[in-house]
Amino acid sequence: MRSPNRTVMVLTSQPDTTADLVVRKLNERDVPVFRFDTTAFPTEATMAAQLGGGWGGGMRLGERELELDRVGSAYYRRPGEFAMPASISPAARRFAAAQSRAGLLGVLVSLDCLWVNHPGRNADASYKPWQLTVAEHVGLRPPRTLITNDPDAARRFAKDIDGPVIYKTLAGGVVDDDGVPKGMPTSVVDPDGLDDSIALCAHQFQEWVDKQHEVRLTVVGDEFFAAEIHAGSDDAHVDWRNDYASLSYEIADVPDDVRRGVVELMRSFGLVFGALDFVVTPAGEWRFLEINPNGQWGWIETVTGLPIATALAELLQRGTTT
């Protein structure tokens, strides 16, 4: 049992309103919070950590200090890139950014505390092919999937599926040539459009799974918060992100076999938080689509009332999943 009132470290950007929800719950519980963005290092934040039975020392940001050995848990949300002083050369900035990343994060991720989630585990679980492998192994029934840069393989897959096929990205963060970050929703594939540009990178194709509705399942420790997402338009039926205005939500129960599979999947990746997406077929079968190890949940709490922020605050305050 950890001593009470150890500090919760929150790593995220300043305008992260979802993290605000958790910080407010922690404040209500009088739990010390040290929130900072990696963007502040090294220009605004300083760290001095010395090895000796773990890392001792601390961080300072403005008027605030963090004793490293007082950290009971860490909430890794959406911290920004390290920002280097503009006054130094590009080469110096690159060097400084790499050293800062390895030094600061290297110390923080090795602290003896609960991470929600440890960024290394997040990174592992972000590989969608790996997710699908584990999901299949634990019985969560992902769609038939092809990952390829072979146009012929893509065309054969589309033919063999004998039904609609969708394309979905393997990684996010797409920035177009105009420098603008853009989205890429799931899209139904035109088999005649499967051309040789498939050869230019890895692509993910899946069978279309007919759906009654989708479920966004948010897992916090051993607590499950499931919300049905019902599409109200054709666009939203393909990908609910296409038309939020048409969506309606209902709180859902999670079938026991799905719950067992999700627990196993989370354990396999070492995750204590996850936002999972499922299709629920007209026959009521849950089919795994993906897990977002650092997924958004604020809007689900807003539209359903599911107490996700409270669960996160409790977990962070406890500092252990047991």
């Binding site: 404040n27 989205g183 040789d196």
Partner: protein
């Protein structure tokens, strides 16, 4: 691979998947739940009473609208 069968732009050929790029949702439509968190919720005051910086509090840039079959909106992750 035949160059003729790859769609090209001024910047050169683009992978098949890039044909599905869409403008940022945040610019295209409001937050999915229509929620605008109150200034109170933007106050990220630690238990020691020191407020977090205030200049970001009015921002509505947090993306609460990810998910779905196509994957997460991925912010740069320094890790």
């Amino acid at each position: 691979m035949s160059e003729a069968t790859i769609k090209t732009t001024e910047a050169g050929p683009r992978p098949y998947g890039m044909r599905f790029l869409q403008p940022p949702r945040r610019a295209a439509q409001p937050r999915p739940d229509g929620v605008r968190y109150s200034p109170e919720l933007q106050l990220t005051v630690g238990a020691d009473g020191n407020p977090w910086k205030t200049e970001a509090m009015a921002s509505e840039t947090s993306s609460n609208n990810d998910g779905g079959q196509a994957g997460e909106d991925t912010d740069p992750d320094p890790y």
